[in-house]
C-alpha cells in the first residue's frame, strides 16, 4: 500500500478509534427509563433543605424529605406528615406535635423529636446562613437566636460555642458553655472585635468570637478566651422536646399559617449523624445523604438530571405509586417544550408565550393544558423618592391611564387576569381590594392638577425591566398607553437579571417591573413587603398607618379581624399607589393526560409523591378537571 494512502487510512482509523472510545466511555450505561420524567427548570442549588430557595429545589426537597406537616396536593391544607397529630393552645401560641413511631430515616433509624430540634437549631444558627431563616422567626426568640451576637442584650442567657480544631468536620458544633451575658466591651470600632463577658458557673469569663483558623494560629488577647460564636441560649427559643416523639413549639404571635410553614421545605429535618459525619457540603451528595421522605436520591448529574427512587423506609411507602422519577434540568424553555412534545418529558412547567397562544387556540382543545391563576402578581414599582412620582396625583394618573385588558387579552397568552390590587384572589377569608380601573378622563385631570396639563413639562421617565421578550412587549404597550392618554413620553430600558436586581435594590430606577409569588396562602406574604424598612420595599414609600395595620394583623388571633386589618392595609396601598398592579399570573403547566394526581392549586405546587400514571383511563385527569380555586 502506498505511503500516502496508508497515512490517510491511519488517520481515519485514529478518528474512528477515538469516536468509538468516547462512545464506549460515555454511552455504555444506557439508563433504564424512569416511570415519570419532568423538566425541573434549572439545576438545583443544593439538596440541603436549609439553604435553598426556589421552585426547582422545592419539588426535589419535597420528594426526598418530609416535615412535621405536608401540604395537600389539591387544597394545600396542612395534613399530617412526620407528626401524626397535634394540639394547638387556645391562644394559638403553643403547638404540641406528636410524631409517628414508624417514621424512619433512609438509614433505618427512627425520626425523633430530637431530629426536629437539631434541624431547627441548625436552620436558625447563623453559621448555616439559611436564606429562608426568617420563615422560622415566628417561633419565640428564634429571631434573636438567628442574629447571633447582634441579637443579644446584657442579662440574656447565652450559649458560648468554643472553637474546634481546623481539621474538624465543618458541620460539628464546638463545646457549648451556658451562662449569662454580663457586659459587652467594644475593643475597636469594628463590630467583630467585641469582647463578651459571660458569667459561667459563678465565674465571669471574657470571650472574643473568631474563626477556628485564627483561633488555632493566634493566642487570644490577655485575659480573653477565643470562642466560635456567642448566641442566645437555644433553650430560650420556643422549641422543646417533651419526649422522643413529642415536640412543643411556642410562637411569638399567633400565626395562622404556622402549620403551613411546618410543611414548607426549608424547615424540613435533616439527619444529624449524616450531616456531622460527612460535613458540608459532602453530606448532601447522593451517596452520603440520609433522607426521610417518600423518595431517595439515586444519582445526580449536574445540569442533566436527578434520579429519584421510591424509598423503602418511608412510613407511608404503600401509597407511593411511582417507583422512579427523573427531574431534568433544562434551562431553555423552548427546549423543554420540544422534550414534552416528543414524549421525553411528561410534565413541563412552562411554555414560551407565543407557542402557548397557539397551543391554547388549537381545535379540538388540548387535553393537557389548563392554565389556572395562582398566588402571584405582576406589577410596576414607582420610585416615590423621585420627581414627579413623589406626587400621589401623578401616580394615580399613571394608574388610571392603564388599560390592563389590552395587556391580558392581546399580549399574554395563558388567560392571565387583570390586577387591580396587590393580593391575588384565592386566599380563604380575604376580600382583595381594588384600585379604580381604566379612567383616562380622570387621569388627565389629575395630571393637569399636578402641573402637567396634557403631559406638558413631564420629565422623560423610563420603565426598567429585566431582559425578556414578554416584559419588553408589556413595557412598550404601557408606554404607548401613557403616550396616548396622558401625552407623556416614557422610554423603556432593559437590564440583564442580576444587574436589574441590583438597580432595583439601590433604587436606581423610575418605574420598574416586579413579579411576586406568595410563599404561603396568606395576604401577609404580599403586604408585609411594603412596610417601612422592609428589604423588599424598594419604592421609598412608607406610611405609618400601613405599618400599624400590618403589625396589628401579626398579633391578632381572631381570623376575621386579622383579615380586616390586611384589607385596610391593602386599601391604603392602593390609594397611595407606590405600585401599579398589572396582572395576576396563571400557571402554564403542560401535563400528559395519563398523569394522575396532579391538581391545579393557588400556589402552583405539585408534590411528586401524589402522582401516579394511568394509561388506560379515558376520563380527563385531575389536572384538566380541576380549576384553581379563584
Amino acid at each position: 500500500m502506498p505511503s500516502n494512502s496508508r497515512n490517510l487510512t491511519a488517520s481515519i482509523l485514529v478518528l474512528a478509534i477515538l469516536a468509538g472510545a468516547t462512545k464506549a466511555l460515555f454511552f455504555n450505561t444506557s439508563l433504564p427509563p424512569a416511570d415519570f420524567t419532568f423538566v425541573n427548570e434549572t439545576e438545583i442549588k443544593s439538596l440541603d433543605p436549609a439553604i435553598v430557595t426556589g421552585h426547582p429545589e422545592n419539588r426535589i426537597i419535597n420528594a426526598v424529605f418530609e416535615g412535621l406537616t405536608k401540604l395537600h396536593p389539591e387544597t394545600l391544607e396542612p395534613i399530617p406528615g412526620l407528626a401524626k397529630n397535634w394540639e394547638v393552645s387556645d391562644d394559638l401560641l403553643t403547638y404540641t406535635f406528636h410524631l409517628r413511631e414508624e417514621a424512619r430515616w433512609s438509614d433505618g433509624t427512627p425520626v425523633t423529636a430530637h431530629d426536629i430540634h437539631y434541624s431547627m437549631r441548625r436552620f436558625l444558627g447563623p453559621r448555616t446562613a439559611a436564606e429562608y431563616a426568617y420563615q422560622a422567626w415566628y417561633i419565640k426568640n428564634a429571631h434573636n437566636y438567628s442574629l447571633g451576637a447582634k441579637g443579644l442584650q446584657v442579662g440574656d442567657a447565652v450559649e458560648v460555642e468554643l472553637n474546634l480544631p481546623i481539621e474538624a468536620t465543618n458541620t460539628r458544633r464546638g463545646k457549648i458553655l451556658r451562662g449569662k451575658l454580663l457586659s459587652v466591651e467594644q475593643e475597636k470600632k469594628s463590630s467583630d472585635q467585641r469582647v463578651f463577658v459571660v458569667e459561667i458557673d459563678g465565674k465571669s469569663i471574657h470571650y472574643q468570637p473568631t474563626d477556628d483558623e485564627s483561633a488555632a494560629q493566634n493566642d487570644p488577647p490577655k485575659n480573653t478566651h477565643w470562642c466560635r460564636q456567642i448566641l442566645l441560649d437555644f433553650r430560650q427559643v420556643g422549641i422543646k422536646v417533651l419526649d422522643p416523639l413529642t415536640l412543643r413549639i411556642t410562637l411569638e404571635n399567633p400565626t395562622p399559617y404556622f402549620l403551613d410553614l411546618m410543611g414548607f421545605y426549608p424547615l424540613f429535618p435533616v439527619n444529624q449523624k449524616c450531616v456531622e459525619t460527612h460535613g458540608s457540603p459532602q453530606w448532601a451528595k447522593p451517596e452520603n445523604i440520609v433522607t426521610n421522605g417518600p423518595y431517595r436520591v439515586e444519582f445526580r448529574r449536574i445540569r442533566d438530571r436527578i434520579r429519584l427512587r421510591k424509598s423503602d423506609t418511608y412510613w407511608n411507602r404503600d401509597t407511593i405509586q411511582l417507583n422512579v422519577i427523573d427531574a431534568l434540568s433544562v434551562d431553555a424553555v423552548t427546549t423543554s417544550l420540544n422534550m414534552y412534545m416528543t414524549g421525553i418529558a411528561d410534565w413541563v412547567t412552562e411554555a414560551p408565550g407565543p407557542t402557548l397562544r397557539i397551543l391554547r387556540n388549537q381545535q379540538p382543545p388540548r387535553n393537557d393544558l389548563n392554565p389556572s391563576p395562582f398566588l402571584s402578581t405582576y406589577f410596576y414599582l414607582l420610585n416615590t423618592t423621585r420627581k414627579p412620582l413623589d406626587d400621589i396625583r401623578v401616580r394615580r394618573a399613571l394608574a388610571l391611564a392603564l388599560d390592563r385588558e389590552e395587556i391580558t387579552s392581546k399580549i399574554l397568552a395563558a388567560g392571565e387576569v387583570p390586577a387591580l390590587g396587590l393580593v391575588p384572589p384565592g386566599i380563604t377569608g380575604y376580600h382583595p381590594q381594588q384600585t379604580t380601573a381604566n379612567d383616562p378622563e380622570e387621569a388627565r385631570r389629575l395630571l393637569a392638577e399636578a402641573g402637567y396639563p396634557e403631559g406638558k413639562g413631564f420629565p422623560r421617565l423610563d420603565i426598567l425591566y429585566n431582559t425578556h421578550e414578554m416584559h419588553q412587549t408589556i413595557a412598550e404597550v404601557i408606554r404607548k398607553q401613557w403616550q396616548r392618554e396622558l401625552g407623556i413620553s416614557i422610554s423603556t430600558r432593559n437590564e440583564e437579571w442580576a444587574t436589574f436586581l441590583a438597580s432595583q435594590r439601590q433604587m436606581q430606577y423610575n418605574i420598574s417591573r416586579r413579579g411576586w409569588i406568595g410563599d404561603y396562602a396568606d395576604p401577609n406574604t404580599f403586604l408585609d413587603m411594603f412596610v417601612t424598612g422592609s428589604e423588599q420595599n424598594s419604592t421609598g414609600w412608607n406610611n405609618a398607618e400601613y405599618d400599624r395595620l400590618i403589625a396589628a394583623a401579626g398579633k391578632e388571633s381572631n381570623e376575621k379581624a386579622r383579615m380586616e386589618f390586611f384589607q385596610q392595609a391593602e386599601k391604603i396601598l392602593l390609594d397611595e399607589l407606590p405600585i401599579l398592579p398589572i396582572y395576576f399570573y396563571t400557571s402554564k403547566n403542560l401535563v400528559k393526560p395519563y398523569v394522575r394526581g396532579f391538581y391545579n392549586n393557588v400556589q402552583d405546587f405539585h408534590p411528586l409523591w401524589a402522582l401516579w400514571i394511568d394509561r388506560d383511563s379515558d376520563e380527563p385527569n385531575e389536572f384538566m378537571s380541576t380549576k384553581g380555586q379563584p
Partner: protein, 305 residues
C-alpha cells in the same frame, strides 16, 4: 524543541495570570452579586453569606485569597451549585463537551473533505456549485439557526432523533452535526482550494499520462498534499469547537461546559465562571501550542524559536 516548550509554558502561566486578573475584576465590576435574588435577603443573613464566601473582605484581599487558592490548584466551591466544587463540575462537564466536540470534528472532517474533493474534481459543474453554495451558507449561518432547522426537520417532521438530552448515542448526532457544520463548511472550502492547487501540478499530470485511473489519482496522489492546509486548520477548529459549544449545549440541553459557563455567568457564580474561563484559556493555549509543534513535524522548513 525543549526550550521552545519551556518558553511556551512560561508564556502560558503569564497569560493565565493576566486572564485571571482581568476576569476577577471584570466579574466583580458587573453590577449584581451571587446573592441577589428577586426576594432581597434579610441584611443579617446576607452579611453571614458574604462572610462565608469572603465577599465581605476588600476586593484586593479577595483577589489575593483567590489567586493563592488557584496557585494551589484549589478552584473552590461553586457559589450556585453549592453541593459541588468547581473541580467536580468540570470533571462532569468536560468529558461531555469533549465527546460532543470529537463527534463534531468527525462530522466537520468527513463532510468537509468529501464536499471539498467532489467540488474540486467537478470544478465548475453543478455539484461544485451546489456544494459551495451550501458551504458558504454553512459558514454564514450561526449554529443555533442550523440547530433550529435540524430540530424542525429531524425531530418533528421526520422523527428520527430525540429533541434534546444526554445519555444515549442518538442524542449526540444532531448537536454534534450542528456544532460541526460551520467547520465542515470551512474544511470544504479549504480542501477545495488546496485540491485544485494540487490537481494542476505536474506530478498529477504525469500520473494521468501514465494511465492512472481518476479515483486513484485523487485519493492516492492528490489528497495527501491537499490535506496539509486542512490539518493546520484543525488546531483552531478543535479549540473553536470545544469553547464554542455554549449555544448548542443550551439548545439541546447538554450538561457540558458550555451550559455551565452560560448559567454561571448569568447567576454571577464567580468561582465556577472563573474556573471555566481558566480552563478555556488553557484549552485554547495548548491547542495553539500543539499546532505550532505539529507544523515543525509536518514541514521541516518551519523552525521553532
Amino acid at each position: 524543541m525543549i526550550p521552545f516548550c519551556f518558553k511556551r509554558l512560561l508564556w502560558m502561566l503569564l497569560t493565565l495570570w493576566v486572564v485571571f486578573t482581568l476576569s476577577f475584576f471584570l466579574m466583580r465590576a458587573v453590577p449584581g452579586g451571587p446573592f441577589d435574588s428577586e426576594r432581597v435577603l434579610e441584611p443579617e443573613i446576607e452579611r453571614l453569606l458574604k462572610k462565608r464566601y469572603n465577599l465581605d473582605k476588600s476586593l484586593f484581599e479577595q483577589y489575593r485569597i483567590e489567586l493563592g487558592n488557584y496557585a494551589r490548584g484549589d478552584f473552590g466551591h461553586s457559589f450556585k451549585l453549592t453541593d459541588y466544587t468547581v473541580n467536580e463540575v468540570i470533571a462532569q462537564g468536560l468529558p461531555i463537551s469533549v465527546t460532543l466536540g470529537t463527534f463534531a470534528l468527525v462530522f466537520a472532517l468527513v463532510l468537509g473533505l468529501l464536499a471539498g474533493i467532489v467540488s474540486a474534481v467537478s470544478r465548475g459543474g453543478w455539484a461544485d456549485f451546489t456544494l459551495m453554495l451550501i458551504a458558504t451558507t454553512g459558514v454564514a449561518l450561526p449554529n443555533f439557526v442550523i440547530a433550529g432547522i435540524c430540530i424542525i426537520l429531524f425531530v418533528f417532521m421526520i422523527p428520527i432523533f430525540p429533541a434534546a438530552g444526554w445519555g444515549n448515542f442518538d442524542q449526540l448526532i444532531l448537536p454534534a452535526f450542528c456544532l460541526g457544520a460551520p467547520y465542515a463548511a470551512y474544511v470544504a472550502r479549504i480542501a477545495r482550494t488546496s485540491m485544485l492547487d494540487v490537481l494542476s501540478q505536474d506530478h498529477i499530470r504525469t500520473a494521468r499520462a501514465k494511465g492512472v485511473g481518476p479515483v486513484r489519482v485523487v485519493v492516492v496522489h492528490a489528497l495527501r498534499g491537499a490535506m496539509l492546509p486542512v490539518v493546520s486548520f484543525l488546531g483552531p477548529a478543535v479549540a473553536g469547537i470545544l469553547t464554542g459549544s455554549l449555544v448548542v449545549e443550551q439548545v439541546f440541553a447538554i450538561p457540558g461546559m458550555g451550559s455551565h459557563f452560560v448559567q454561571a455567568a448569568i447567576a454571577r457564580d464567580y468561582t465556577l465562571a472563573m474556573g471555566l474561563v481558566m480552563l478555556y484559556t488553557v484549552l485554547l493555549f495548548s491547542m495553539n501550542w500543539i499546532v505550532d509543534l505539529s507544523y515543525s513535524v509536518l514541514d521541516p522548513r518551519v523552525k521553532l524559536n
